[in-house]
Amino acid sequence: MKRAIVVGLLALVGVLALAAEPCLVVGMIIGGTKDDAGYNQSQYEALMTLKEKMPCVEILFAENVPEGEAEAVLESMIAQGAKLLFPAGFGYMFPALNVAKRHPDVIFMHPGGYLLADNFGTYFSNVQFAYYLLGVAAGLMTKTNKIGFIGGMPIAFVLGNCNAFHLGARAVNPNVTTYFVVTGAWVDRAKEVAATQALLQQGCDVIGSHLDSPIAVAQTVEAAGAFFVGYPSLAVQKFCPNAWITGLGLTWGDFFVEIAQQVINGTWKPAHIRRGLEAGFITLGEFGPRVPEEVKKIVLEYKDKLISGELQPFAGPIRDQEGNVRIAEGEVWGPMDMGKFDWLAEGIVGSPK
C-alpha cells in the first residue's frame, strides 16, 4: 500500500515536472536587498513583471551577492539551466563577463556597463534626461531658491543627474542655486541623514538624491517640512507623503519581457540599449498633495517636449563652475555622453571630485 502511494506520488511529480517545463530560465543577482525602495527594488520589480507577463519563465534570484562571489552564483544559476542572466549591478560587469566567456550559449544583460561581447549586452535608462524634469519641479517649488542634491559617489552619472537637476531648475527659475553634497558611500544611512540636515540648514528647501536608496533622506526631509524629489524607485513616496513633489522610477519590466522573447526566438543581438521616458524605461511618478496644479502642468509640458525631442537638456552652451564652456554652442550631448561628466554646471555649489 505504502509503496503504491509512493509510486503514485512519484508519477504525479514526474507529470507535473513535464507540464511545468519552463520556456526559459532567467536568473538575476543584485548587490543589495530587493525591498530597498531604491535601485535593487527597481531591478527586482522588473524581474517580477517578467514573471507575471510570461508565466512560462522560471525565475532564479539571489540578493546581497558580493562582487567577489558573483561568478560562483552566476555559475550555479547556469548549472540550474539559466539561459538569460541579469547581473544587475554595475560592479558585476567584469565577473559577469568572465562567466559569459565560459558559457557562449547563455545571454547576459548588464545594467549601465560599457562593455559588449557576443553574448553580453547592456541596458539602462536615460536617467539624466528625465532628471531634468525633477529640476523643473524643484525650481518651481522652491521658496528659498536653494535646492540640494545628495550623491553617493562623485561619478559621472551622479554629476550628470545633479547637472540635469540644476539646469532644469534654472530653466524655470534663473535664481536657483544648487548645493551638491557627496556622502562617499552608496549606503550609509546615518551619513545620509547628516548630509540632508547640512543642506536643510544651508537653506535648501527641495532635496534630490542619487543613492542606492533615499529612504533616510526622504524621512529627514519629511520631518523638516521641506520638499523631496525621488529617484531611483517610486516606492520611496510612502516615506515622505507630504514632502513628495514627484519622482522617477526605473521601470524595465516590459523591456525584460522583450529581451526574454528575443532569447527564446533566437533573435537577440548584443547592443548598448539606452532608452528613456518615451520607451517606459523610466517613469515620472505622481505628484504630491502640496504641488499646485500650475506646477504639475508646467512639469508635464516639459515632459512632452522631452519625449518629442524638442527639448535637449544638454544642448550648449553650458558652462562649468569656473565659467569654462563644456558643451559648446550648437553641440548636444546624448545618452552615450553621460559618462563624460567630470564637472558641475555654473551655479552649483560643491565639488565634482
Partner: protein, 297 residues
C-alpha cells in the same frame, strides 16, 4: 555663529551612537577583556530594536529589546572568555560575524519599512532644526560621567579596575574576577546595542544591512584614544561625530575639498593622538588586557 551651532548640534547627535559602545568597551577593557565584537552587537541592537519597534509600533519596546539582545549576546562572549578560557580576539571576531549575519536575518523583512521613531525633544523651540534630540542622546552624555564616577570614585570601580590590572591579586583580595567580567560584559553589551538602536530608531528611522558602517571599530579605536577614561571618551566621540558633520557641512557651503579627503579626518586624528600620547598608553592600559585568566590554584 549659527554655522558653529549647527555643527555642534550635529556633532552631538552623531557622537551618541559611538559614545555608547565606547563607554561599554572602556568598562570591559578595564576588567582586562578586549571585545572586537562591538560591530556585531551594534548591528544586533539596530535590527532587533527596529523589528520590535515596527511590530509593536512602540520605540520604547524596541529599546528594551535592544537592551535584552545586547545583554544576552555579550554574556555568551563573556562565557566563552571567562569559563571556556577562549581567546578574546577569536571570541570577539566570532561575535562580530554572528552579529552581522544574525542582524541581517532578523532585519530582512524590515528593509524598506517604516518603524516608530523615538520622539525628538527640541531644546531651542519647536521651530528650530538644530538641537533636536531623542532621549538616547541625553542618556549617552549622562552615562559617561556616571561611568567615570563609578570606575574612579567607588569601591566597586576599584575592584573592577583591579581585575583588569591583575585578576590573581584581585582574587586574593576577595574579588571574583569571573563575576566582575560577566557584569562588565553585560554592561558593555547593553551599551553597544543601544548605540546600534540609536542609529536605526533614533537617527535614521530605517534598517539596512551593515548600517553601522564600521562604527563598532571606531569605538574600539576611541577606547585607546580616550585612554580608558569615560570622560575623554566624550571628547573622542565628539571629535568623530563632529568630523563627519563638518565634512558634509563644508561641502554644502561649497568649500571645494574632496569628500574622500575629508572622510580621512577621524583616522588621521586617531593616528596623531596615538603619536602624541603613544608613550603614555602603555602605562594606562589595564595590565591584564587581552590575557586569558586561568584562575588561581
Amino acid at each position: 555663529m549659527s554655522w558653529f551651532l549647527s555643527w555642534l548640534s550635529g556633532a552631538i547627535l552623531y557622537a551618541a551612537p559611538i559614545l555608547y559602545p565606547t563607554l561599554g568597551e572602556v568598562v570591559e577593557q578595564r576588567t582586562g577583556m578586549v571585545n572586537l565584537g562591538l560591530e556585531g552587537l551594534m548591528l544586533l541592537g539596530a535590527s532587533i530594536s527596529f523589528a520590535v519597534s515596527f511590530i509593536t509600533k512602540n520605540p520604547w519596546l524596541g529599546i528594551l529589546a535592544a537592551i535584552g539582545t545586547g545583554l544576552v549576546a555579550n554574556l555568551v562572549y563573556a562565557w566563552l572568555v571567562v569559563h571556556r578560557n577562549a581567546s578574546q580576539l577569536a571570541a570577539g571576531l566570532a561575535l562580530m560575524f554572528f552579529g552581522i549575519g544574525m542582524s541581517a536575518l532578523v532585519g530582512k523583512p524590515y528593509v524598506g519599512q517604516m518603524a516608530a521613531y523615538l520622539p525628538k525633544y527640541p531644546l531651542l523651540g519647536s521651530q528650530s532644526l538644530i538641537f533636536r534630540y531623542d532621549l538616547l542622546v541625553f542618556l549617552a552624555f549622562f552615562l559617561a560621567p556616571v561611568v567615570w564616577f563609578f570606575l574612579f570614585r567607588t569601591r566597586w570601580g576599584l575592584k573592577l579596575r583591579a581585575v583588569g590590572e591583575s585578576p590573581a591579586i584581585a582574587y586574593a583580595a576577595g574579588v571574583s574576577p569571573g563575576l566582575v567580567r560577566y557584569l562588565a560584559a553585560a554592561f558593555a553589551g547593553i551599551c553597544a546595542a543601544l548605540g546600534g538602536a540609536h542609529l536605526s530608531i533614533g537617527i535614521t528611522g530605517t534598517w539596512s544591512e551593515g548600517m553601522t558602517a564600521g562604527r563598532g571599530f571606531i569605538a574600539i579605536a576611541l577606547v585607546i584614544f580616550s585612554r580608558w577614561n569615560p570622560l575623554r571618551a566624550i571628547v573622542g566621540a565628539l571629535v568623530f561625530g563632529g568630523a563627519v558633520v563638518l565634512q558634509l557641512q563644508l561641502q554644502a557651503q561649497g568649500i571645494g575639498i574632496s569628500a574622500f579627503l575629508m572622510d580621512m579626518i577621524p583616522y588621521v586624528l586617531t593616528v596623531l593622538v596615538l603619536l602624541v600620547w603613544g608613550r603614555g598608553v602603555r602605562h594606562v592600559a589595564p595590565a591584564s588586557l587581552g590575557r586569558v585568566y586561568f584562575g588561581t590554584e
